[in-house]
Amino acid sequence: MIAIVDYGIGNLFSVVSSFKYIGADAVVTSDAEVIKKCDRILLPGVGAFGDAAEKLRQTGLDKVIIEEAKNGKPIMGICLGMQLLFEKSYEYGEHNGLGLLKGSVIGMQGVIDEKLQIPHIGYNALIFKKEHPLFKYIKNGDYVYFVHSYYAVDCEDSLLAYAEYDKDITAIVAKDNVMGCQFHPEKSGEVGLNILRAFCEMESTK
């Protein structure tokens, strides 16, 4: 069973539908006990980093996720959910994340070529950096759907794949049992569903 963490941020319809579609059992929950009982955790998220991090702290779910990560349970963050796995974000100020991955999150504004549109919206190709079980059903160069204005940097430690948008934009990260996708696998057609399928097959690292 997958725990889709509901902390009052964003629309969970597509994430829930995509797991249902690939035949995986998932439950939307904000209950620490339910999260602990599930064998994997999905951290979704759309919106601003500061608000989301604050909501995780207010609900105490930050501690639950950190503890479960330490227990070796497979955890995947999507979009803002991935960004929250890092130490820090500089979106409207400076905010602490969960600190499960080394690195921070910065804005594209003023960093990438000013002729390019921000947000980075659309399908972009994944460029693999390292092999990983998450890539079991996809290949280098496959397209996935991005919608974001901030991206993770200084994360060589966990970087698995990036996309080119003037700079190398962090796309997939993983360190042991903690994983994340900057793009939306639930909106990336068959390629995205195949990443979720591989996530559902990941074993606990402990």
């Binding site: 629309n11 539908s17 921000i118 397209y143 909106k187 990336s188």
Partner: protein, 252 residues
């Protein structure tokens, strides 16, 4: 780099796709869920659904169908038609829409854009404009091109983007239905005026029209069409192969 997007548009009335489609192997040519699945498996990068229903019952059917589509199709879905309030945004987003397109609703009440962008993010708010030449000026029209608002189109679109619209659909009434190519002149003006993705609509008749569109306006994000896809005149996968052959990146 980001690929150019190809987007089929489906007009839905009382839960059925208007006009239907003409593909081999599809039995119910008016069923939105069947068509959405067909398109998503055959190269469409996103789908746009326009609810052209007038009745309350039709609207209820539309949201039911949207839920069904969104449960089985995993590419971005944009929904338009009858979006006048923040509750309308809420209604279609809860059923699985990713973006909401506003047209007359924004003309009647421009603050709807700001309000929606604050609540759901700019990426969620699409401004769609029907535009026609009037005495050498581009004007925004209402009601499928029957009513001239008198507003100058480029400044209207710029204003909408400043208020928070994250994407623009430009539908040229002059080229719509003619199948003689997109309205390059108008689209260039819009692309020069805003720095958010612009989607071209109205006038696609052949693969070459899409190639011309992206060659002449490299910053154009997407091309949208309806009948040429529905009637099988252009196959989306073939079109995208041709785009790639012409040095225009498309997702295969």
């Amino acid at each position: 780099m980001i690929t150019k997007r190809i987007i089929p548009c489906l007009d839905v009335r009382d839960g059925r796709v208007v006009k239907g489609v003409n593909f081999e192997g599809i039995n119910d040519v008016n069923d939105p869920a069947t068509l959405a699945k067909y398109y998503s498996e055959n190269g469409a990068d996103e789908l746009v659904f326009y609810d052209i229903t007038a009745s309350h019952e039709g609207r209820r059917l539309f949201t039911e169908i949207l839920t069904q589509v969104a449960s089985n199709v995993f590419i971005p879905l944009t929904v338009g038609g009858g979006i006048n309030t923040i509750e309308d945004f809420d209604r279609v987003l809860k059923c699985g829409a990713d973006k909401v397109s506003v047209n007359s609703g924004a003309i009647k009440n421009p603050s709807l854009i700001t309000e929606a962008a604050k609540k759901y993010g700019n990426q969620c708010v699409v401004i769609s404009a029907d535009i026609k030449r009037v005495d050498g000026e581009f004007h925004v029209f209402l009601h499928g091109g029957r009513v001239d608002t008198g507003m100058e189109a480029i400044s209207w679109i710029k204003r909408c983007v400043d208020m928070g619209a994250g994407e623009v659909v430009v539908n040229s009434i002059d080229t719509d239905g003619v199948k003689g190519g997109f309205d390059i002149e108008l689209l260039k003006l819009v692309c020069d005026a805003v720095n958010v993705p612009v989607i071209a609509s109205g006038g696609a008749g052949s693969t070459k029209d899409f190639i011309d569109l992206f060659k002449e306006i490299p910053e154009m994000s997407a091309g949208l069409a309806a009948s040429v896809f529905h009637f099988g005149e252009i196959n989306i996968n073939e079109l995208k192969k041709e785009l790639n052959n012409n040095g225009i990146k498309a997702r295969i």
